[in-house]
Symmetry: C2
Subunit: 137 residues, 2 copies
């Protein structure tokens, strides 16, 4: 893992997985909509608390990901919860721009299952609020 | 992995991880509260659709986990969502008994962060609705 510059018993209390990560769920304050799911390492969680804005660990880019660093769609964190097993984090956030998803939608969970087990399909049911080409310039 | 008895293109559409699993978030219909986080394999998701009740994959017990099989706290599934990367599932559910957590609480996310990065702590802020000893007999 990257250099550790973060301390505190509260971070030791989290049960990081073998890769030093935990799942993190971002839930919108007010609506309670689930906007996205990502991962955090120790530094990401410490930075989230320190800055009051959601910071994740990008597994694809292998670096800290300050949500909104490119899109401007920053997440202001109002509350942080930990689950009973201490291995999942829940953020209650305000989503700047109302768009959490890189597709330009409010939430990443826009594909709804329709049908039955033998013949099912996933249908995009949420509108694109902003063209991603205009989000990521 | 266990024997595959499940088919359907919609299952192939899910991006299962190296262990054949995806994260699954259970959200309460109506309140939109996030009740729990677990994992699903292909069979668990297929069984969830087939039965209309949440079925997870227990990594600790290495078998299908029909939520509520011991506690009676079954989850009736109203809607299933998939995220933009097709690697996280969201269930919208009705929680029988109003208790999702094995601690006897409504939600597993009952520990709230308080303090700051240098001196933080996790505080249990949700009531125990039923003594776990009376849930698991």
């Amino acid at each position: 893992m990257e250099q550790q510059t973060t301390g505190g018993d509260w971070l030791d209390h989290v049960r990081w997985d073998a890769n030093g990560l935990v799942p993190a769920i971002a839930q919108e304050k007010g609506s309670n909509d689930i906007l996205m799911f990502a991962w955090m390492n120790r530094e990401a969680l410490a930075e989230t608390v320190r800055t009051g804005q959601a910071v994740y660990w990008s597994r694809s880019r292998n670096r800290l990901w300050r949500k909104g660093e490119e899109s401007g769609h920053v997440q202001h964190v109002h509350e942080i919860r930990l689950d009973c097993d201490e291995d999942v984090v829940l953020l209650k956030i305000d989503q700047v721009g109302g768009i959490a998803c890189h597709t330009g939608r409010h939430s990443c969970f826009f594909q709804k299952f329709e049908g039955d087990a033998a013949n099912g399909t996933w249908v995009a049911v949420e509108p694109i609020l902003k063209n991603p080409e205009h989000i990521y310039k």
